[in-house]
């Protein structure tokens, strides 16, 4: 048998192929270029993202969940969470991108991903493609496409010229159609709830308004805020500042929606009818509250609901504290406050008006009467302006001025008023003076952008022709022979940067002095608390730091039966924080007396 040499050698010819290039493409050596605006894998700008979860909510395939990511904490307007995409479920429809309110979430041109580990299909955009994702953006929400309505339904207000003729409420309020439309803008992310000091159920009541269930919205609001209507008119609304939509458009008008739904309820009886509150049987415990301001009223309301015997001791003839006597009626009408207070009284809150602790009743007497005491007296003692001549007739303090005017009394201010200060009290004093027919100038020693007042209030003052003179430092108040103010001397200031990174400081420009003729000057540069009613032995046992009483997480002082709320205990100096304090104090008092 002949040997087939070819047959023997042929198999070995394959060895020659080993030296040639392969016919297959070795992954990922070559990549196809994608089409423009291709929808590939996600990329998330982690710093831009606020973790609102709207992407997760809209995803039709439940492909996105929200997870904690290292380096991001829950704080002002950021949930601390970031979206994670299950690429096994994602269909790359880009709805998540199109609705993203910050524009942080985008799709890239990357489309190839091979793995035998199903767990790695869970991809956290911006974390797992941190290095090159940003350079491959393809479908971007920044292209102007959005599923969101960025423009707010405007609020109608009285015209500037019209409003200074009276103390009529400036804000006219939404009608039903406007409220529904505005409520529809909410994406219910809940970021606002987080930052609200009270943690009001904002998306829930806005959704109720959107559905046309206004009474339900009222019930939701009263769940943890008995002064919802007040907040609807004057809240400092940190919720709106952090609103997710605020990143690319107007924030949802959370305050005005609250105002719409609460002010619709015309009287205390109707509030009671809607809420139909469940009032617990008396539990035999008695609580005294000093001050019928927002914190005192809040604590009293929820304590009364829980069966406590609650009495508020209020020095003045009306309840409300600074919201009654500090905020002008064109922002917060008296009947609105009365309505809310009347409802509280209807469920058992007792208020002893014209009863100043320390004068009409001693603190120790209160201690004898009640098992727990809560203090919410606010900051009512004004700082002196601190210039020569301020004791002259016609030199007055804004808090006193506003208290008199809001209490229905007359204060003679003449026709040329200078207000000194840059906070809300200064703006309020200026706008009230304007309504009394005066020409008004505000002297503020820093820049307008440094003014602590709400921008909306500053703008309101400007619309009413209040002159704001920034970088002006008062030097002296001059009087006539009868001791009545006649002019104020001030110097212009330059702003000096603070070496340590603080706010720039005003410094007088030597020789740049001016004088304004005046009939009154109103000081509005700050207030502090009056703790003079405390007996010495109590003062020794509590701690006061930076003018504020030191309290624990339930507003309790070092004396376990003594609670402090509002301006005297928090750093925010607004009504909503005082309400939050009052709400927390209820928990503290319950813990103390019902243990």
């Amino acid at each position: 048998m002949a040997i087939d040499l070819k047959g023997i050698l042929s198999p070995f010819s394959a060895l020659a192929q080993g030296t040639k290039p392969p016919h297959t493409v070795k992954y990922p050596k070559e990549e196809k270029e994608t089409a423009a605006r291709y929808r590939g894998f996600h990329y998330n700008d982690l710093d831009e993202c606020i973790g609102c979860g709207t992407c997760s909510t809209i995803c039709q395939n439940a492909a996105i969940d929200m997870i904690p990511v290292e380096g991001f904490e829950t704080n002002n307007g950021d949930s601390g969470l970031r979206p994670r995409v299950d690429n096994g479920r994602c269909c790359w429809c880009a709805l998540c991108v199109d609705i993203c309110p910050t524009g942080s979430l985008n799709l890239t041109s990357d489309y190839v991903y091979v793995t035998d580990d199903p767990d790695t299909f869970l991809w956290t955009p911006g974390v797992d493609n941190a290095e090159d994702g940003k350079d491959k953006l393809s479908w971007k929400s920044a292209d102007g496409k959005s599923l969101l309505e960025y423009s707010r339904v405007p609020m109608k207000e009285l015209d500037g010229k019209e409003r200074i003729k009276s103390f009529a409420e400036v804000v006219i309020g939404y009608n039903e159609e406007e409220a529904r439309k505005e409520a529809d803008r909410c994406i219910a992310c809940g970021i606002c709830t987080d930052i609200c000091p009270v943690h009001m159920h904002i998306p829930e009541y806005i959704n109720a308004i959107s559905r046309g269930e206004d009474e339900e919205a009222v019930r939701i609001i009263y769940d943890n805020n008995p002064l919802g209507e007040t907040c609807g008119k004057v809240c400092t609304r940190r919720c709106e500042t952090t609103c997710a939509i605020n990143h690319k458009g107007d924030p949802v008008a959370i305050r005005w929606l609250k105002e719409y739904v609460t002010s619709k309820v015309e009287n205390a009886d109707l509030i009671k009818e809607i809420l139909n509150p469940e009032i617990a049987e008396p539990n035999g415990h008695s609580v005294g509250i000093i001050g019928a301001g927002p914190s005192g009223l809040t604590a009293a309301y929820y304590l009364a609901l829980k069966g406590f015997d609650v009495t508020i001791y209020e020095a003045k003839e009306h309840a409300g504290g600074m919201i009654m006597y500090g905020i002008p009626k064109y922002r917060l009408p008296l009947d609105s406050i009365d309505k809310q207070v009347d409802y509280m009284k209807s469920i058992g809150v007792k208020i002893n008006y014209n009863t100043k602790v320390g004068t009409d009743i001693t603190f120790n007497e209160l201690k004898e009467k009640h098992e727990a005491i809560m203090i919410g007296i606010g900051f009512e003692i004004p700082y002196e302006i601190g210039v020569t001549g301020e004791e002259a007739e016609g030199s007055i303090q804004a808090v006193n001025f506003l208290r008199e005017i809001n209490g229905g009394k007359h204060v003679e201010i003449g026709n040329k008023v200078v207000v000194i200060g840059g906070g809300n009290v200064a703006i309020d004093a200026a706008r009230v003076s304007k309504r009394m027919g005066a020409e008004v100038t505000i002297l503020y020693r820093r820049r307008v952008e440094d003014m602590p007042a709400d921008w909306e209030e500053i703008e309101g003052a400007e619309h009413e022709d209040v002159i704001i003179h920034p970088q002006a430092i008062p030097l002296e108040i001059l009087s006539d022979e009868s001791g009545k103010v006649k002019s104020i001397k001030y110097a212009n200031a330059e702003m000096i940067p603070d070496e340590k990174g603080g706010r720039p400081r005003p410094k007088i420009i030597e020789g740049d002095e001016h004088t304004i003729e005046i009939t009154s000057v109103i000081g509005a540069i700050g207030q502090e608390a009056d703790y003079s009613f405390f007996p010495e032995e109590i003062k020794e046992q509590i701690e006061i730091s930076r003018g504020r009483m030191v309290v624990d997480e339930n507003q309790a002082t070092k004396l376990p039966w003594l609670f402090a709320c509002g301006d005297i205990a928090n750093r925010q100096a607004d009504a909503i924080s005082a309400i939050a304090d009052g709400y927390r104090a209820v928990k503290g008092i319950e813990k103390l007396l019902l243990k």
Binding site: Y383, G386, V387, T388, G421, A491, E510, G526, R546
Partner: protein, 334 residues
């Protein structure tokens, strides 16, 4: 016993030793001890505008560190100022109640409008007189020499318009034309000039290469500068008709000899502080004893008998006061 009494700011003093403004005059108890020790007048520790600024800055820095919004303390300096003024007014009132010697309040400011504000407040609290502790270090400002010196006159005139109690001015020697400026200031209506205030003087630690505070107290040798200028100014004031501005010597007066020297130079009284810190309050008694003994030895029955005897005009060799250089004939060394 010689008559040690003197007049200053229109006040009759039992002796010429005044407790100068210092921490020793910042509380009633200490002031009572000083009165007991024998001082004839007490100048309260100055209320400093700068301290108010520093206190405010510290407060705000700490508050910000603790998480407060700085804007929450927008005008907090006014509150600090108000508290400081109230505490100072309380000190004046309580001191006036506690002691029988005159009480002089003292002010030190940077802003001219603040001098007037404080002066008004302090007068109303019952101070017997006001001392303006005034200095604008040349390193402080961009002002010209003229502007800087004009500031003294401007502030003094404004304060004089506001207050009716006697005003005295404590100044430094940092003037381009000291003699003339002091003379002009004496004519403004002030009732006293205090020569001179003692400054914080920085020193360096060459190991740590940091600035330190070293020369806190004056030394007896520091008497030379005020001695010279008290001598010169007192003689000039003597020539002035209707100028009732008194002179008080300050800095470097540590013992009876120092008191005697300054009165010989023409001072109406002296202010002391360092010696009280170094030697205790009993030093006042020793100084008065030494003064009295010297006067008895010299047969002087009152201070007026020798006041100004060695002033520029009264000295045998007035030229010596104006020499600023060592010259061969004044030196013992070749």
């Amino acid at each position: 016993m010689a008559d040690l009494s003197t007049k200053y700011l229109g006040l009759k003093l039992k002796n010429p030793i005044i407790a100068s403004s210092s921490t020793l005059t910042s509380n009633v108890e200490s002031i009572k001890q000083l009165e007991k020790a024998g001082v004839s007048v007490v100048v309260l520790r100055s209320i400093f505008e700068e301290e108010i600024t520093l206190e405010t800055n510290r407060f705000i820095e700490n508050a910000v560190e603790d998480g407060y919004d700085e804007a929450l303390f927008d005008y907090y300096d006014k509150k600090v100022k108000q508290d400081n003024v109230e505490n100072y007014l309380k000190l004046i009132r309580e001191t006036k109640e506690a002691v029988n010697i005159p009480v002089i309040a003292s002010i030190n400011c940077k802003s001219d409008h603040e001098w007037i504000y404080f002066a008004n407040k302090l007068e109303n609290a019952g101070a017997d007189a006001l001392e303006l502790n005034m200095f604008f270090l040349p390193s402080w400002s961009k002002r010209t020499v003229e502007e800087n010196e004009a500031l003294y006159f401007d502030i003094v005139n404004k304060v004089l318009q506001q207050v009716s109690i006697p005003l005295t001015l404590k100044v430094s020697h940092y003037f381009s034309d000291l003699s003339s400026t002091l003379l002009q200031l004496s004519k403004t209506g002030i009732k006293g000039l205090v020569l001179f205030n003692k400054f914080f003087t920085p020193d360096f630690d060459i190991e740590t290469e940091k600035m330190t505070q070293n020369y806190v107290y004056s030394s007896p040798q520091d008497i030379a500068l005020p001695l010279r200028w008290v001598s010169i100014l007192s003689s000039q004031l003597k020539k002035e008709e209707n100028n009732d501005c008194g002179i008080v010597a300050s800095t470097g007066i540590h013992d009876g000899e120092g008191v005697i020297k300054q009165i010989l130079a023409g001072a109406d009284a002296v202010q002391i502080a360092s010696t009280l810190y170094i030697n205790g309050f009993e030093q006042v008694d020793k100084m008065l004893f030494d003064l009295n003994s010297w006067m008895e030895k010299k047969n002087y029955s009152s201070l007026d008998d020798f006041k100004g005897k060695l002033s520029y005009q009264g000295g045998d060799n007035p030229d010596q006061y104006e020499r600023t250089q060592f010259m061969k004939n004044f030196s013992d060394k070749e």
